[in-house]
């Protein structure tokens, strides 16, 4: 579904991604874990076509690089920042993006998504009146508006309450069960352990280890947990 192969990307003297490779299969939730500055967001930006790698290749659905608009039609992005228009209502936001994507039967699709993220009752309210959790759920709905095959979710639960977080996690699992591939970045290890089929631990632009959570735990000792594995691999020193 998505394959990043030997990706390298530098910004001046800073090497952000250094030979990163991973693949995500159909219906799989792939967790991309790493400390701040590890290269996760750069990898996501490369996977969406926002950045062009210095070397290496990205392939989406066997169609080629997402730098091509036709290929981008198959991916949905929920960035780390809330990417909604505060002056529009929930319905207007989704309708705007649905129109740009050329979605057919926009009203039905928007209704379906509002129901999915449990915002039907607030459909006519401006986003500026929403809580952080509601905005996150709507942000996820905006990424789904054109029914993409691949979803890139960059810390989709950052700053939300446990109820919204739980709903988002349920949604992600549900989407994967329906066959969508998901790349999921997070700082919450228990979240990754709960919903990811496989995780990749990244630091300094390199993939340190990849596998299912069970495989990672087995490699590092039975009595450990994902957070301990993460700290063992990336170190305990504080990052900028």
């Amino acid at each position: 579904m998505l394959a990043l192969r030997d990706i390298r990307k530098s910004f001046g003297a800073v090497v952000a991604v250094d030979g990163l490779s991973f693949e995500v299969g159909a219906g799989e939730v792939f967790g991309l874990l790493g400390p701040n500055g590890a290269g996760k967001s750069t990898a996501i930006a490369i996977a969406t076509g926002l950045l062009t790698p210095d070397s290496g290749s990205v392939d989406l659905l066997g169609l080629g690089s997402p730098s091509s608009p036709a290929v981008r039609m198959h991916l949905g992005l929920a960035p780390q920042e809330i990417t909604l228009y505060d002056d529009l209502t929930a319905r207007e936001n989704l309708t705007f993006f649905a129109r740009l994507y050329g979605v057919r039967d926009i009203a039905a699709r928007v209704d379906e998504l509002l129901t999915l993220v449990e915002l039907s009752e607030r459909a006519k309210d401006r986003v500026s009146t929403f809580s952080g959790g509601m905005k996150r759920r709507l942000n996820l709905a905006a990424a789904l508006v054109h029914d993409p095959q691949l979803l890139l979710l960059d810390e989709p639960t950052a700053g939300v309450d446990p109820q919204s977080r739980n709903r988002i996690l349920e949604l992600v699992r549900g989407l994967a069960a329906s066959g969508k591939s998901i790349v999921y970045t997070t700082h919450y290890m228990e979240e990754a352990a709960k919903i990811c089929d496989r995780v990749g631990i990244v630091d300094r632009g390199r993939m340190l280890e990849v596998g299912s959570v069970a495989e990672l735990l087995a490699r590092h000792g039975k009595d450990t947990d994902l957070e301990t594995v993460f700290l063992t691999l990336t170190g305990r020193s504080l990052r900028e």
Binding site: T48, G49, L50, L75, P79, T83, D86, R99
Partner: protein, 247 residues
Amino acid sequence: MNAFQRTNVVFRREFRSYFQTPLAAVFLVIFLFLAGLFAFNIGGFYNRNQSDLRPFFQFHPWLYVFLVPAVSMRLWAEERRTGTIELIMTLPFGVTDLVVGKFLAAWAFTTVALALTFPMWITVSWLGSPDHGAIFVAYLASALLAGAFLALGSFLSSLTKNQVIAFVLCAVACFVLLLSGFPAVLDFLRGWAPRGVVEGLASSSALTHYESMMRGVIDLRDALYFTLVIIAFLVLNVFAIDWKKSD
């Protein structure tokens, strides 16, 4: 969905957004108030005893220097600040439709402001027998000048996420674009600069072309000048967004 439809979607969303904030009301009130104040108090609208709108139109370039940046500053800087640019850049088409849609919405908004000055036209028609063709061309010149400044402002707005910086950059750039054709500047240059330089500077000035049209004559060179300025800055706008897409 074709490019025209996408441009239309962006145009409608942007145009509507002006009226969902106090910006529209503030802009319209200030523009109408200052346009009237300059025409009647400084331009001597009544004292001239001539049935034309020259005192009204001659101050438009200077009004636009700080009013147009107030409209253009948010076009892209706001998308950068809120992060919506990231989602926009992953849409399955190029950024040209978005640039054109946003620009047209801003231009339509300033044209609405300009159209609301129609009582001036009615007044001068009631007081005398003006050349309606000349007034129409002057309105056209004013709209084209606003369009050129908006295209410049849209480009500058795409370079930053700070709306204040976008405003200042645009105001200075518009001022320079006008000043290069200001008689005092050209007279100063004539004393020592080569004739070709002075003429080149004068012909590149928005003020020269605006004043030429304001007299009521449509010269193809003037219309072409404004059209080219608009196109050039919109093209630069597209490149700038693509260049800074990952910021």
